[in-house]
Symmetry: C2
Subunit: 110 residues, 2 copies
Amino acid sequence: MKARRDVYQAIADPTRRAIISMIAGQPHNVTAIAEKFDISRQAISLQLKILTDCGLVKIKQQGRERFCEAQLDKLSEVSAFVDQYRQHWESKLDALETYLEKLKKEKHGK
Amino acid sequence: MKARRDVYQAIADPTRRAIISMIAGQPHNVTAIAEKFDISRQAISLQLKILTDCGLVKIKQQGRERFCEAQLDKLSEVSAFVDQYRQHWESKLDALETYLEKLKKEKHGK
DNA sequence: TATAAACGCAAGTATTTACTTGCGCAATAG
DNA sequence: CTATTGCGCAAGTAAATACTTGCGTTTATA
């Protein structure tokens, strides 16, 4: 088993999703990100490494600071995966709802 | 740290995504699914447990067989997450196109 | 120039993941 | 009835994950 560093694995972690949400608006340096979480700076650094490894974050060194910038085009892969089943779940929801409505009416009818 | 059993974590694994793709068309029983992979039936059972735990798969017992059916409405959560960043990646459709090509080839390969 | 800030690297740990093999039990086919 | 099929349960393992603390290096700042 090798370390998987793909987008799916990257967004599987809630902390990483929170980081993405944080820097999507504008870049932050590592310390600024770490301050928003209850975990250590090292832990954040590790999450950032995972995010950069899979290409969702780009780091720009500026003096002693490293600004983390969101680079989310790889998310399109996830989007494509989900969208291929879009009909599957959208229609199913409707069908289920209709079915439940019918059930209700039948019960009340008795 | 507790076991996370959310949709993001569920689709993080390629085997689980393959299982979803397999049963999205029509339900399969556990053995039928296991036969398509190089790993043991037990391993598949475990992946199915994760998928059912998070609500992406529904199991219907029928005699000694357990038919696994895709129940993908929870994917809307992932869709919502990705879509909020759509503007970040929309311009870069290359990755999507590549992915779709890959999907096509995989389907023909079977 | 001394000091603090921003960070990486490395070692260490607990927990989780992704499997495996072996066993047993209920449903069904011969 | 007996054999086989379908599948769960349990124990065991290797690797990955998600952290921690401590230390060292570079770059600003007082």
